[in-house]
């Protein structure tokens, strides 16, 4: 991509309200616009499209963040960013020629008078209005007025042309003709254009990229659609292009999802935030479910260091041995929160495994990385050193490779499957996956019931230490920095206890910083070694330099869990999108056509940002760029289906709309 002409950097726009308070119209908008590009901003009315356009024009200033044009910040409007306003904004007391001349005479000061006159006539001609040059705007039709406005804008040769719903008020026929003309003119002039529209076909016909904005308040970029239809485009030809209907349905689906989200929001009563009657004085009691492992270090630290009691929270950690039990208790409302696998929130919403769909949300990621695949020692003797040699071994075998996972549909399973598939091993055909409690894995390996397992560093390290197995792959071989455990709770619990939830998350984040801090390492080991957490074995698990047990004296070490820093806490929609591709890849669910709706209601990064701010950390947002996993395939959250289609062994890329579970309180949590 050529260097950006215009860069929208982290723009947030807040408007003060008359009755006090404020309205956040746009939040954290990032967008690069390349020279010569045609961009459409699409979204429902009131989503802040025009607000964003006005910011680009410099007519208003962003509350935070900035907009750069050629590297210089935009602080005021100027003729290099000419706007074609929604209602044309022609001066009614001036003729067509005078309207254009006013712009030209003011902007093109260095040109001679004859040149300016020539320029005016040229542009009147360009939009085919020579016959009407001496008419007043009131004597022109809507389409003609719009052409005058476009001519006025182009006459001053702006670097960026900003169009605010340029054809909104026109009849269909005029609109079609004008779109075609605009397209030709923009192409000839090579002018970079940003157009606000709510017309899907218009956006597709004209744009190189369509930027979809989510609903306000706090509107953001929901999706960016690349329109790779060949140019020059003709309306009818474009419509016959095989990609057209895919793009069109993608856009319409986005808009429909946004409408449903809006309706859900309107239907849900405003959350009674800690009404005095409902909130008893004193600390809030919270039951938090978890399975022992290094992932819970932040929870332990926050408990022992008193972060929760500082935040007026009384947290009761509830330890489980099996994920299934934890999930049942969460569904039953006996737990307020749980530290679950990163896949759990989506799996709960989709109701995988025949369960009823349950409206889970996640406000933050608790840990990243920290997994390893451990194979029985005998494979090392068979010279299985990497995925290639494992695949070769698998071919010759009569029975499938038996591998244990802690939970069906967990992040670990997805990583394992992805890694196996990347090496040509089909995880369903060539491998038998068993669900085992992580605590039972070592024993099963010893008994020869399984050939290997994927688990956290803690389990794997113990097995390696016992000489039973060795590490064949780690996170680094699959997806470095993948989300491993996230915080999960019921959507309406989060709505009703958002303040409590934020304080909990903020405490967890402060604790996570300590877990990441080398200086505090010894204290952490001591703390986790206490019997109520991990026990004495934790000291071993926390040892920084783990060896992979593969005999080689090398620099290969098990990667550490990541608790904090570099966007570790982000509840990242893009990662959720990847998880959805995997659900679909292994045939567990259809790929949801309304994924944006699903993901935006599940991944509550707004809560994460607020919690980070509350904890005193700067809130870095997830980056929108495509990211690559260890296999080198790049994943673009704006086009997950293309990724899915490329993956080996993808069962199906069928797309179906899913019904989101109603966020109404179905569990007796509130009554507790």
């Amino acid at each position: 991509m050529s260097p950006a002409l215009l860069t929208v950097d982290d723009v947030t726009q807040v408007f003060p309200l008359d009755e006090g308070g404020h309205y956040v119209a746009l939040k954290d908008i990032d967008l690069d616009i390349a020279e010569g590009e045609f961009i459409s901003l699409i979204g429902h009315s009131g989503c802040g499209k025009s607000t964003l356009l006005n910011l680009m024009a410099g007519l208003t200033q962003a509350s935070s963040g900035g907009i750069l044009m050629n590297g210089r910040q935009i602080t005021d409007p100027g003729p290099d960013r000419m706007v074609v306003f929604q209602n044309y904004s022609l001066l009614p007391w001036q003729t067509v020629r005078q309207n254009i001349a006013l712009a030209v005479n003011n902007v093109m000061r260095e040109a001679s008078e004859a040149e300016r006159r020539e320029l005016v006539e040229q542009n009147i001609q360009r939009v085919g209005l020579t016959h009407a040059a001496d008419k007043l705007p009131a004597e022109l039709s809507g389409g003609m007025k719009q052409r005058v406005a476009i001519a006025r804008a182009l006459a001053i040769e702006p670097k960026l042309l900003l169009l605010d719903e340029p054809f909104g008020a026109l009849d269909a026929l005029t609109r079609g003709n004008l779109q075609q003309q605009l397209m030709q003119i923009c192409q000839q002039a090579g002018v970079t254009t940003v157009m606000v529209t709510h017309d899907v076909d218009e956006a597709l016909l004209l744009s190189d990229r369509v930027v979809c904005l989510t609903n306000g308040p706090e509107a953001g970029i929901g999706q960016i659609l690349q329109v790779n239809l060949p140019r020059p485009r003709q309306r009818l030809e474009v419509m016959e292009h095989p990609d057209y209907y895919r793009l069109r349905s993608e856009l319409i689906s986005f808009l429909q999802q946004q409408r449903r989200l809006k309706q859900r929001k309107a239907a849900a009563p405003a959350a009674p935030e800690a009404t005095p009657a409902a909130a008893p004085q004193g600390p809030q009691r919270l039951r938090v479910g978890y399975l022992p492992g290094l992932d819970i270090a932040p929870l332990a630290v926050a408990m022992e260091r008193g972060f929760f009691s500082d935040a007026q929270l009384s947290v009761l950690p509830v330890s489980f041995h099996r994920w299934q039990q934890l999930e049942e208790k969460l569904r039953a409302g006996e737990l307020d929160l749980a530290i679950t696998s990163a896949t759990a929130p989506l799996a709960l919403n989709l109701g995988l495994d025949g369960q009823a769909a349950w409206p889970a949300i996640t406000p933050m990621t608790v840990t990243r990385n920290g997994n390893a695949l451990c194979l029985a020692q005998r494979f090392q003797d068979l010279n299985v050193r990497d995925i290639g040699s494992l695949a070769e071994r698998c071919k010759g075998r009569e029975w499938p490779l038996r591998l244990a996972i802690g939970q069906k549909g967990s992040m670990q399973e997805l990583l394992l499957r992805h890694w196996l598939a990347g090496g040509g091993i089909h995880p369903d055909r060539d491998v038998e996956l068993q669900v085992l409690s992580p605590m039972a894995m070592q024993a099963a390996l010893l008994a020869g019931e399984i050939d290997g397992f994927i688990a956290g560093r803690y389990r794997v390290a113990k097995t390696v230490e016992a000489g039973l197995g060795y590490v064949l792959a780690t996170d680094l071989d699959v997806w470095s920095g993948h989300p491993e455990k996230v915080l999960t709770c019921h959507a309406s619990w989060a709505d009703h206890h958002s303040d409590t939830l934020l304080r909990f998350c903020a405490s967890m984040m402060r604790a996570a910083q300590i877990c990441e801090d080398d200086g505090q390492h010894n204290g952490l080991v001591g703390l986790l070694s206490q019997p109520q957490w991990l026990g004495a074995g934790a000291a071993l698990a926390l040892e920084r330099q783990f060896n992979l047990g593969n005999g080689e004296v090398s620099n290969e070490r098990m990667p550490l869990n990541r608790y904090h820093g570099d966007r570790a806490h982000v509840a990242n929609v893009a990662e959720g999108s990847w998880i959805l591709t995997q659900f679909s890849r292994w045939g567990w669910s259809y790929f949801p056509s309304n994924r944006v709706e699903l993901l935006s209601s599940v991944y509550r990064n707004d809560l994460c940002t607020q919690a980070l701010e509350q904890a005193g950390f700067s809130a870095l947002r997830p980056e929108r760029h495509p990211f690559a996993l260890a296999d080198g395939r790049s994943f673009d959250q704006d086009d997950p289906l293309a990724y899915l289609r490329e993956l080996p062994f993808a069962a199906s890329s069928a797309v179906e709309p899913i019904t989101l579970p109603a966020p109404a309180m179905t569990s007796p949590v509130a009554a507790r």
């Binding site: 024009a57 007519l59 005021d76 409007p77 100027g78 003729p79 960013r81 000419m82 706007v83 306003f85 209602n87 904004s89 001066l91 009614p92 007391w93 001036q94 006013l102 712009a103 003011n106 902007v107 007043l136 705007p137 009131a138 001053i156």
Partner: protein
């Protein structure tokens, strides 16, 4: 079904319309005004011609010299109605002219400068409700001259709508036009010339039109109080004279006052429509 050709269906009414277009348009006026005059005449018969002359009496009694010779001049204040009206119009022209110039200037400042506009708004709101004649005594004290005082009363009566409308007009310049000016980075002069003035003209003329009506109201009242000559003076003089035809003279003068007031209003409205090109 009987076939009726469009031509035969539409010919008759269109023919009628073409035959008597003027008469058809005048019918409502003729009937209503005629009715009014008849009612007046009847009322005059009931009350007695001495108390309220009917329309016929008015014309008969004032025909000579007031209707037939509008511009006679017997010296002193004994002048034809045409002269009297011209004297009043002269005063109005001076007071109103001053009010227009000052009002547009002040209104322009108030509209362009939010601080002054906001600060002076209460003063304007109070003063504009003062009845014209309430200004008369104080202006007499200040100017010591009836003619100047009358002109001042007209000035002070006429100025408020002009100020207010000019200021509002400037403040109400559509955001679209100011946005265009900002994007094009119009200089102050070009901005005022191309946008402020044309966008404000319709408002200014609304103010001017209200003001001319007020000015005409005020002059008649002021002249009745204290003046030499003028249509207001004429009315009061006729009343004081108490002659046989006094009532008729007064009624005729009232009619003239009304007609001139209407003419002034229409004149300003016409000028406004000519100046405000394109409109809003």
């Amino acid at each position: 079904m009987t076939a009726i050709t469009p031509a035969s269906r539409f010919r008759r009414p269109s023919k009628l319309r073409r035959l008597q277009p003027g008469l058809r348009n005048l019918m409502p006026y003729l009937i209503c005004i005629g009715g009014f005059l008849i009612a007046w005449q009847i009322l005059s018969l009931i009350l007695g011609v001495a108390r309220l002359p009917g329309p016929i009496n008015v014309i008969v009694e004032t025909w000579d010299p007031y209707i037939s010779q509008p511009f006679f001049d017997d010296g002193g204040t004994s002048k034809g109605l045409g002269w009297q009206i011209l004297i009043s119009l002269q005063r109005v022209a001076m007071g109103y002219g001053l009010a227009a110039v000052a009002g547009i200037a002040i209104g322009g400042v108030l509209g362009l400068n939010r601080f002054i506009g906001k600060g002076l708004d209460p003063v304007i709101q109070v003063l504009r409700t003062v009845p014209p004649l309430a200004w008369f005594p104080i202006s007499l004290m200040v100017f010591q001259d009836a003619n100047t005082s009358a002109i001042f009363v007209i000035f002070i009566t006429a100025i408020w709508p002009i100020i207010i409308n000019t200021a509002v007009g400037i403040r109400e310049i559509p955001q679209d036009y100011t946005n265009v000016a900002r994007v094009l980075r119009l200089r102050k002069g070009a901005y005022i010339r191309n946008i402020v003035i044309p966008a404000t003209v319709p408002y200014v003329f609304t103010g001017l039109r209200i003001s001319v009506g007020l000015a005409w109201l005020a002059i008649v009242a002021a002249e009745m109080l204290k003046a030499d000559g003028g249509i207001g003076y004429f009315i009061w003089d006729a009343y004081n004279a108490g002659g046989d035809s006094s009532s008729s003279q007064i009624i005729l003068a009232i009619l003239y006052v009304g007609v001139v007031g209407l003419a002034l209003d229409r004149l300003v409205a016409y000028m406004g429509s000519r100046v405000a090109k394109g409109g809003n």
